[in-house]
């Protein structure tokens, strides 16, 4: 599903955010990307949905080399992904339902169908009675569930989540993680960046560890530093 070959990312003037990363994630895997702040977790996720471009190396996502995509290619790539962020990134002027339906509409799903899919997802995520609410009146956990519904509305093959529990209390964080596990159980590949070590202990899945831009550990391939 994901392959990174000797990927580096250097920010100007000369700050190496990622150095020679070699990583492989199979279809249907659930992977934690861990490491302290500044380790390069967010940069790596940004490379995967082409918010940033790699300085060196090649990145393959679902059989496509995404380092060579043009604007239209980037849009197509993102239509296959589901993105979840720490700060939710919902539009405050739209209701929960509209926020989710927007993602379906931009890829060409008819409005009625988009709203139906959005409502079904919100209902499955326990937000049936909150679908008409705008984000400012929703709790952090509810907003994150709306964001997850938005990530799922186009049936993604890969979900990338950047610190999805970072702004939530322990209970909400637990609930959000269970949601992401449910998505994984339905066959979707999930890659989660987190610095919360407690989360890694409670949910035992593959952990890829980054430190100062370098891959320093992989629970799937213990002892193989720098490549996995």
């Amino acid at each position: 599903m994901i392959r990174l070959f000797h990927v580096s990312k250097i920010f100007p003037p000369n700050y190496p955010a990622l150095v020679d990363i070699h990583l492989q994630v199979e279809k249907g895997e659930f992977v934690f990307l861990s490491g302290p702040s500044g380790a390069g977790k967010t940069t790596l996720l940004n490379l995967l949905f082409r918010d940033e471009e790699a300085t060196e190396g090649q990145i393959i996502v679902n059989g496509r080399n995404i380092t060579r995509l043009n604007g239209a290619g980037v849009a197509e790539l993102r239509q296959e992904l589901g993105l979840v962020f720490q700060e939710f990134r919902l539009l405050p002027s739209l209701t929960a339902l509209e926020n989710v339906a927007l993602a379906a509409e931009v890829v060409g799903t008819p409005r009625r169908e988009s709203r139906r899919k959005a409502f079904t997802l919100l209902r499955e995520l326990g937000l049936k009675d909150r679908h008409d609410c705008k984000p400012p009146v929703l709790s952090g956990g509810e907003q994150q569930r709306v964001a997850i519904a938005r990530a799922l509305v186009n049936d993604p093959i890969l979900v990338l989540a950047d610190e999805p529990t970072g702004n939530l209390d322990a209970e909400m964080a637990e609930e959000t993680m269970r949601l992401l596990l449910r998505i994984h159980e339905q066959g979707t590949t999930v890659l989660i960046a987190t610095h919360d070590t407690g989360l890694l202990e409670r949910f035992s899945h593959r952990v890829v560890h980054l430190q100062r831009g370098r891959l320093t550990g992989d629970s799937k391939h213990p002892g193989e530093e720098g490549s996995a």
């Binding site: 604007g71 849009a75 990134r89 890829v107």
Partner: protein, 300 residues
Amino acid sequence: MRFAQVSFVSRRVLKSLRELPWTHVLTAGPMTMTLFIYVGFLLIQEYLHGLLHGWKSQVQVFAYLDNGAGAVDAMVKQVRSYPEVERVGYVSKAEAWEKFRRSLGAQSGVLEGLNADILPASLEITLAPSHRSRAAVEGLARRLRAVAGISEVEYPEEWVEKLGLLVLGIRWTKWVLGGFLFVATLLIVGSTVRLAFLARRDEIEIMQLVGASAGLIKAPFVIEGMIQGIVGASLALFGLWLVFLLLRERVPSSLAVFVPGGAVRFLDLRGAGVLLVLGLAMGTGGSLFALRKFLKRWGR
């Protein structure tokens, strides 16, 4: 673009028109002004050009006769024999008086008490098309002045030249002022599109994240620009038409004799179409120019 996306874009445009009406008015306003001024100058230029052409096509030389000049027939025959002359008409004192009285219309009462023979008889000489140059007219005037019985010779060449210069001046003003206004309008349209874009930046960022194509993001802004352009051009057209009606009402009917064809004309259907297309191009061009910079990152 799929039908669902066309519907999505239409809804976004309608929403923007509903929620940000003043932004659109501020964009359409300068376009209206620019097109109004530019096309106004174009109409004035066309009108004066037509006038000039009309005058040139009937360049006449007036030879006023001495009081009591005899042998008019012989004089007419002599003048008619000149190669520059196409036609010679004799206007008697009585005819000149009657013509003058008619041209005064309702004010002709001021002539009461005056002798009907105070105006001189004259020859109205029309030049052949091949001799309608200043040199030919001046040459003819010199020869006419030497003819016995002719006291004074007048010709409107000087006026024609002055009018020609005026037309040239308006033509240049139109291009310089028009060019300046077009650039200014494009910058204003660009700025308002940028403001509208910034106002919706969060929405656009999220659309980009969920896989919206650059075309889908740009389309509402471009369509809004088109609508602003069409509305701006329509308002300019309406404003010009009102000014035209006002002038037609107020311009004295005696001036109509100077207008080729006998009537002041407004833009025809083709001209109005060109004006609308010009507005459309301005709105679209301004939007695309502004978006080019904002969506640069999509090209990578």
